[in-house]
């Protein structure tokens, strides 16, 4: 299921991801930041939102595709008849 043809891109984006994780940890321990909610103080929250959000959107899209996607030839049936 995973996209094996993008091995190089996966490797590069993984390195970037780890780098950002380390920078975030540095920022978390070195900078005093005012947080509006308690959960905003979780270290690397943005990265987590990125992972969870992207997986959530992929899952919803996959389910929705089964419900609402039709072949291109159906366009006429729905929209111009």
């Amino acid at each position: 299921m995973l996209s094996k043809q993008f091995k190089r891109e996966i490797f590069i984006s993984f390195l970037l991801f780890v780098f950002m994780f380390l920078i975030t940890l540095y920022d978390y321990y070195k900078h005093e930041v005012h947080h509006s909610f308690h959960f905003v103080s979780i270290p690397f929250l943005s990265g987590l939102i990125g992972i969870i959000g992207a997986l959530l959107i992929t899952t919803i899209v996959k389910v929705l595709q089964k419900l609402v996607s039709r072949g291109e030839d159906s366009y006429e049936r729905y929209y111009t008849s």
């Binding site: 299921m1 995973l2 996209s3 993008f6 891109e9 996966i10 984006s13 993984f14 970037l16 991801f17 780098f19 950002m20 994780f21 920078i23 975030t24 920022d27 900078h31 930041v33 509006s36 909610f37 959960f39 905003v40 690397f44 929250l45 943005s46 990265g47 987590l48 939102i49 990125g50 992972i51 969870i52 959000g53 992207a54 997986l55 959530l56 959107i57 992929t58 919803i60 899209v61 996959k62 929705l64 595709q65 609402v68 996607s69 039709r70 072949g71 291109e72 159906s74 366009y75 729905y78 929209y79 111009t80």
Partner: protein, 586 residues
């Protein structure tokens, strides 16, 4: 004596002339007029001005920071769009585009509700001309659906305004917060939300914008929804329903965008999503959130115009409009790829682009106002934006192997120039936010470039990129169409037709018809006898003479009228101009 010449009146008059007497050289004239309107907007001073008096009813415009902010961007994108379409010969582009731009400026400057309503309707009318600009069967059907839904919006607006004027003696465009809970409040809100493409009443947008010509789409992406955002900020600040609804709207748009295979339909769903951020900002209602909504509307108009222009350039160049057929375009025209990615990174909100300095104001104010739901939904919508535009659309059009063989046509200089200007604006706003914030309607203290903000933004997008490459096969573009909420309306109408055909028609034949026959046969028979006698004695003579005379006259008239609608319009326009001159001279 009137105080000011309304810039929209100039645009509308010239737009009509360009539309009716269209020749290709008028493209340059329309561009010149849009430049003049842009400079007029730049020189407007704060205040309330009377611009026209009709039947003792004085019409006003109001110039303040909010209206000026929207005026600048409307006139600017009109100028850029007309530059983009300069080489293209099509009656339905420069004239209607001027009308459309002028109507949007008219909405933002309107002070009395009559002016507001007139320009609101003019927006829908000019948009219809732009949608039909591609002159295809699908655009015709989309135009009809667009007209129907905007007729509903216009009717709600008219009823709301009449109700306000008569029952509440409320005649100016200003905040309606005190009237919350009344019927006109919700009628006007509904009208505005239809124009803002709020789900489930958003289907007209992804239905019509991709079916217009590539030039029409650029204008369509800018005016209708953003005029609605202006109306929300002006009339409904702090409406709690729309803050949550806007945040859901932001997520809804990106989910459908991720499903799409048609690049312009994908971008249309992103309008729904990005307008969601603005609607949420208007709903949050604090000065910072209203600034966020306005700032994001401004930035969005520029980068969405840029994205539609670069998608249009790909379609113009290749003749293809499906993601599953494209690929590797960046090696064939790297400039278009560069323009596209500047727009795509801006809409995603990456640092050094306009989206970063505008979108984060709303997200930050949601956090400041302790609205965790809105905050999280907007953050996830940002993930989806990067996921679908930069990764899915960008990767499938510009990188990888081409999935079909296609020829590449060179792109005219004016298209390059328009995309270059829009790209430069995206970068300039992102790099120099302090100048941008000075234009905002309310004082702004948000500082976008803190270490934490930049790191958070890059963390979000690096994580999204990693997940995209892991699941790219799962969400790869497929040659499919996706039904949206319009399905319910289609199903409802088909159900009605079924009901008529299967139940009502047979019932009418079997029962109602029989009933009528017994009841009125005798009466009809009497009438028939009477008509026959009249016919025999009087009509017979007329019938033989009148058609002959009509035929003879028609043969004479046909020499002058050949059924060309544009000729009629030109004739009508000339007669009206002569009449006007005559009236002025008297």
């Amino acid at each position: 004596m009137n105080d000011i010449i309304h810039p929209s009146i100039i645009g509308i008059l010239i737009g009509l002339i360009v539309f009716i007497f269209y020749k290709k050289f008028l493209n340059y004239f329309a561009l010149f007029i849009s430049l003049i309107i842009f400079f007029i907007c730049l020189n407007l001073q704060d205040g309330v001005y009377n611009y026209m008096t009709i039947l003792n009813y004085e019409l006003y415009i109001k110039v303040d920071n909010l209206s000026l902010f929207f005026c600048y961007v409307f006139s600017l994108i009109g100028l850029i769009g007309l530059l983009y379409s300069l080489h293209h010969e099509n009656r339905f582009i420069p004239g209607p585009a001027l009308l459309y731009m002028s109507s949007a400026i008219g909405v933002t400057l309107a002070y009395d509700l009559i002016t507001f309503y007139a320009f609101w309707e003019m927006l829908a009318f000019s948009a219809i001309l732009l949608i039909i600009s591609s002159r295809t069967t699908v655009s015709y059907f989309s135009t009809v659906r667009y007209a129907v839904i905007h007729a509903v919006s216009g009717l709600c607006m008219l009823l709301g305004i009449l109700y306000l004027s008569i029952d509440y003696d409320f005649k100016t465009v200003s905040t309606l917060s005190d009237l919350r809970g009344t019927i006109p409040y919700y009628l006007i809100l509904l009208a505005v939300l239809i124009n803002a493409a709020m789900p489930p009443l958003h289907f007209w947008l992804p239905d019509s914008y991709p079916n217009a010509s590539i030039y029409g789409s650029v204008f369509l992406s800018a005016f209708t929804t953003k005029s609605a955002v202006y109306a929300l900020v002006r009339m409904f600040p702090g409406e709690p329903i729309i803050s949550v609804a806007g945040a859901f709207m932001a997520l809804y748009g990106v989910i459908y965008a991720t499903l799409e295979n048609n690049p312009r339909r994908l971008l249309s769903y992103h309008i729904v999503s990005q307008v969601g951020f603005m609607v949420c900002g208007a709903g949050l209602g604090s000065p910072e959130a209203l600034n966020g909504a306005s700032a994001h509307a401004f930035a969005h108009i520029i980068y969405k115009g840029l994205l539609f222009m670069s998608a249009g350039a790909v379609i113009y160049s290749t003749g293809l409009e499906k993601l599953h057929l494209l690929g590797g375009f960046a090696w064939k025209n790297p400039y278009v790829a560069l323009y596209f990615f500047i727009g795509a990174l801006s809409i995603s909100g990456l640092p050094l682009t306009s989206g970063f300095v505008s979108k984060n104001i709303t997200i930050h104010s949601a956090a400041d106002l302790h609205k965790p739901l809105e905050y999280l939904l907007m953050e996830i919508a940002s993930v989806g934006t990067f996921f679908s535009i930069v990764m899915k659309m960008g990767f499938n059009i510009f990188f990888g192997e081409p999935k079909s063989t296609y020829e590449v046509k060179p792109i005219p200089w004016n298209m390059h120039a328009a995309m270059f200007i829009a790209s430069s604006l995206c970068i300039l706003i992102g790099v120099l936010p302090s100048y941008y914030y000075q234009l905002l309607p309310f004082p702004e203290s948000f500082v976008p470039y803190t270490f934490t903000n930049v790191v958070n933004s890059l963390s979000l997008f690096s994580a999204t990129a990693l997940i995209y490459f892991l699941v790219a096969n799962i969400i790869a573009p497929k040659p499919k169409i996706n039904l949206d909420t319009e399905w319910f309306f289609i199903a409802f109408c088909k159900g009605l037709v079924y009901l008529f055909n299967k139940i009502l028609v047979p019932a009418e034949y079997k029962y109602v018809g029989e009933f009528y026959r017994i009841m009125i046969d005798k009466f009809i028979a009497r009438i028939q006898q009477l008509l026959v006698s009249i016919n025999y004695y009087y009509l017979e003579k007329i019938i033989t003479k009148v058609p002959r005379n009509i035929y003879d006259t028609s043969v004479k008239i046909a020499k002058y009228y050949d059924g060309n609608m544009i000729k009629y319009l030109q004739f009508l326009f000339i007669v009206l101009a002569i009449l006007l001159i005559f009236l002025i001279l008297i």
